[in-house]
């Protein structure tokens, strides 16, 4: 039972911590993100396995994590509230070329990041060319250009 409980605890702990960190934290740390994942993975791996490095324990832990992931995805699929809790929701942060400052401050995204996404994804040059900029649940910024700029 202990490997299952350990794996479940770590799964929900990390899910909760990364949700609490907020999506801008996940998106902007592209170069730090790899370091973060490696360090967290190393720390959590030992905590999950404890002193038991057997194949049996590893298999139980891996199965627990995967089935928890399946369970959460099923829950998200059937429950809107669960989807909001585990996945979040997209948020419009630029509308018709106008940055929605209050919302951008809340998600800690700056205009320069929106412009960067606009350049990368749509080849746009200016904020006025953006019809909508949406920060998705994953932290990625998607850009809908103005009709005349498509």
């Amino acid at each position: 039972m202990e490997p299952v409980l350990r794996a479940a605890f770590i799964f929900f702990l990390l899910t909760g911590l990364f949700r609490i960190a907020g999506r801008s934290s996940m998106n902007e740390m592209s170069s730090f993100e790899l370091v973060l994942m490696l360090v967290v993975g190393e720390a959590m791996g030992q905590a999950i396995l404890g002193k038991d490095f057997s194949l049996t324990n590893a298999a139980i832990v891996a199965t627990t994590l995967i089935m928890l992931n399946v369970g959460v995805s099923l829950l998200k699929h059937h429950s809107h509230r669960a989807k909001l809790i585990f996945h979040g929701a997209p948020l419009v942060i630029v509308e018709h070329g106008r940055p929605l400052k209050e919302l951008m401050d809340k998600v800690r995204v700056g205009e320069h990041e929106v412009l960067e996404a606009a350049r990368e994804l749509q080849g746009l040059e200016r904020m006025e060319q953006i019809k909508y900029a949406v920060i998705e649940s994953s932290g990625i910024i998607s850009i809908v250009p103005r009709d005349e700029d498509k």
């Binding site: 609490i20 809107h80 909001l84 929701a89 997209p90 419009v92 809340k106 909508y132 949406v134």
Partner: protein, 170 residues
């Protein structure tokens, strides 16, 4: 699935939920920061609040130990301070309660005892000290088996004894 309409954009946005979530997020950030401060000051292990003592420091034996330990981690070190008065016939006979020892794995004792004697409620560790001329320390490096309260008692054979209490985190 509820969709919002923001101009021509069909999007599953829930601004009301989002605002509540941001409020909760900030409260949790504060709590997590307090948790980190607590960890720094030793509420989860060694540190200002985590260092504890048992016994009379002027007595032949007293103990320094961590108030908080972690299960399955060899981070739990009991440091027994032994004065010259603790030596009897060239030996230091230090006992630790069985109730404590049954809940930990003793990984290392420094210095190594010459013998270990089992009694009803305790184990007595016999250390040779024929030439002891100054106070010394005996270290027990132990690993708690599981989490919870850990009560112990220790002392010298025929001498003063004291209780010590730890809390072991999972």
């Amino acid at each position: 699935m509820p969709y919002d309409e923001q101009g021509s954009l069909q999007i599953e946005q829930d601004l009301a939920y989002q605002r509540r979530a941001w409020q909760r997020q900030r409260v949790i950030w504060v709590l997590l920061t307090l948790l980190l401060v607590a960890a720094v000051v030793g509420l989860f292990g060694p540190g200002l609040l985590g260092d504890a003592r048992a016994g009379d420091e002027s007595a032949p034996l007293w103990l320094e130990y961590p108030r908080f330990a972690h299960a399955l981690a060899e981070s739990d070190t009991l440091r027994f301070h032994v004065a010259l008065a603790a030596v009897n016939a060239g030996q230091v006979r230090l006992w630790v309660s069985r109730a404590f020892l049954e809940r930990v794995a003793v990984r290392r004792i420094e210095p190594e005892p010459e013998a270990v004697e089992a009694a009803g409620d305790r184990y007595t560790y016999v250390f040779r000290a024929p030439a002891l001329t100054a106070p010394t320390d005996i270290f027990f490096h132990v690993e708690p088996h599981s989490f919870g309260r850990l009560k112990g008692r220790a002392g010298l054979d025929g001498g003063a004894e004291f209780d010590f209490n730890q809390y072991v985190y999972p």
